[in-house]
């Protein structure tokens, strides 16, 4: 998509009212974007406008407000479809990545994974791409397999074909690791899985708002994303599913909105995507997500990616100068985040102290406990960047980290 918003980054930053505040007497530096992003005024205004003017339920009212709400909600589905290079009927609104993956593990998994079948994951997955599969494997007596990682935090693909061999039903993996910043070669992984007859799910929670994501180029069967990590409201996310695969699937939740007709003992279900959207959806949030997607595309996702990556590489270089620091993940090509540990300072102490300087970091296991076990650390500190962050903020972070290091030394 052609880039429409050519304003400099400083001007774009002004779209985010929350950033213009002091925390603990210091200008806020928000580096916890991998957990959730901040929201531009366009998205915030969409929510209030909807509740002030158009609020109504969707798909069932015959009155004007319901017509408006339905049109805006379905238009948002179209915007998300455009954003992902997909058709609107392949876009299911969910609460976020976690619900999207659970939907697949239930609605697809129940019918397609059986005893002694294999579910292939990787060692760098977020808990949201582990636990739903553990539950499915337990219900079905299936087995989990994992693509290992290299010491540099890349997927070790040497044995991928062997791992894909046998009764493997699905390969579910992250596009970008929320702990390592690794960018996985999605198109290659999907193509190798397809050759082996294995269905693919891409966890795009960390990538959808940060770089171009096109399901046609990826060649995936499913893709999951969270709206709140890409400038959208919380409570709205997306599951993309290839048309044929969605049509073959039974419903996830049952209820209103997803039926054609209901009798006391059986019902007829709508086709996708509405088959998978039981009950009243997060209407305002889904509409806000469409606005967010549009906003990001106006700026240009490739431009955002290059900005975030430049900040991450700058941060890596500056943090590496601190004695005894350990930085995780790949060295030269990485997404816009950096996980690290300072020698003999626990990540939570780093984060608590950083907070006193107005610097918002994340400390802990980042919902990737198995990965941290493999890395041999109980917790890391993580700085994750977005397009409204600046190079000056990264320099300031490095100063603060040096102070923290000196304090505990």
């Amino acid at each position: 998509m052609e880039s429409g918003d050519t304003r400099p980054w400083e001007a774009i930053r002004e779209d985010f009212p929350i950033l213009a505040q002091q925390v603990n007497g210091q200008p806020l530096i928000y580096f916890d974007n991998a957990a959730t992003s901040q929201k531009p005024r366009a998205v915030i205004n969409t929510l209030s406008h909807f509740y002030e003017h158009d609020n109504s339920n969707v798909h069932r009212g015959l009155h004007e407000l319901s017509n408006r709400a339905t049109a805006a909600y379905e238009n948002s589905r179209k915007l998300l479809a455009d954003y992902l290079g997909a058709e609107p009927e392949t876009i299911i609104f969910t609460r976020g990545t976690t619900e999207s993956i659970n939907l697949v593990a239930r609605a697809w998994g129940e019918a397609n994974v059986g005893t002694d079948d294999v579910i292939l994951l990787t060692e760098m997955e977020h808990h949201s791409n582990l636990v739903p599969w553990q539950l499915l494997a337990k219900r079905k007596g299936a087995t989990l397999r994992f693509v290992p990682i290299t010491p540099d935090g890349l997927l070790d693909l040497d044995n991928l074909d062997a791992l894909l061999d046998g009764p493997v039903k699905i390969f579910s993996f992250t596009h970008i690791s929320n702990t390592l910043g690794t960018i996985n070669p999605v198109a290659e992984l999907c193509s190798r899985a397809r050759r082996a007859g294995v269905v693919t799910l891409v966890d795009a929670a960390q990538s959808a708002g940060h770089r171009p994501v096109d399901v046609r180029e990826m060649g995936c069967d499913f893709l999951a994303l969270s709206g709140h990590k890409m400038c959208g409201p919380t409570g709205a996310g997306v599951l993309y599913g290839r048309k044929e695969i969605l049509q073959s699937m039974e419903p996830f939740h049952g209820g209103g909105e997803m039926i054609v007709s209901v009798a006391l003992t059986e019902s007829e279900f709508k086709p996708p995507p509405h088959r998978f959207e039981a009950g009243t959806p997060a209407i305002a949030q889904a509409i806000g997500l469409g606005v967010a997607a549009n906003y990001l595309d106006e700026i240009g996702r490739q431009r955002i990616f290059e900005h975030d990556q430049a900040l991450a590489l700058q941060a890596c270089a500056l943090i590496a100068e601190i004695p005894g620091v350990r930085i995780f993940g790949p060295r030269d090509t990485r997404a816009g985040l950096v996980s690290f540990v300072l020698e003999s300072v626990h990540a939570h102490d780093v984060v608590s102290m950083a907070d006193q300087y107005g610097l918002a970091l994340r400390g802990g296991h980042h919902c990737t406990q198995p990965l941290l076990r493999k890395l041999g650390v109980p917790a890391t500190a993580r700085a994750s960047f977005y397009f409204y962050n600046t190079s000056d903020e990264v320099i300031r972070m490095a100063e603060i980290l040096r102070k923290i290091h000196a304090f505990f030394a």
């Binding site: 003999s344 300072v345 626990h346 990540a347 939570h348 102490d349 608590s352 102290m353 006193q356 400390g363 802990g364 296991h365 406990q369 941290l372 650390v377 109980p378 917790a379 304090f407 505990f408």
Partner: protein, 154 residues
């Protein structure tokens, strides 16, 4: 508040050089405490008589608050009667979590440095971990595990 109020010299000292750090071969009770969201882990070994805590030691790893709290607790609790220990645990929890904590007991001494933790609600569980392990060790089922994840007001 200033962060140095949380990380006072006593806390830094005990976290870097924890006292009573190690195993206790003749322990009568061993409790594992963990704090899954941080990765803090403390294993507390206690030698109990019917009336007193004869001695206690701990191993594990965690943030400065967690390690210092465990270390200071072991120095305070050695030789205490079970009843005194229970009262101190309650008073410590009260100091960290009660809406109106009031004045801590006069015998608290160095433990008072943890009073600042109440201003950092996310860190209360770090400071409480070893104390909850001791509470478990003194209970009627002294073996087992505790996790600070579910309780201790956040």
């Amino acid at each position: 508040m200033n962060i140095e109020e949380l990380y006072q010299e006593i806390i830094l000292d005990h976290s870097k050089r924890p006292r009573n750090f190690g195993t206790l071969p003749d322990a009568t009770a061993t409790v594992k405490g963990d704090n899954p969201s941080c990765g803090d882990e403390v294993e507390l070994a206690v030698k109990l008589t019917p009336e007193t805590i004869e001695t206690l030691k701990f191993t594990g790893h965690g943030c400065a608050i967690c390690m210092a709290s465990a270390s200071l607790m072991t120095t305070k609790m050695r030789g205490k009667s079970r009843v005194e220990a229970q009262t101190t645990i309650e008073a410590f929890r009260h100091m960290l979590t009660a809406p109106e904590p009031g004045e801590p007991p006069s015998h608290f001494g160095d433990l008072l440095v943890f009073g600042a933790v109440r201003r950092f609600p996310q860190r209360v569980k770090c400071a409480m971990l070893a104390w909850r392990a001791l509470e478990q060790a003194l209970s009627s089922s002294p073996e087992g595990a505790v996790s600070t994840e579910e309780t201790d007001a956040m």
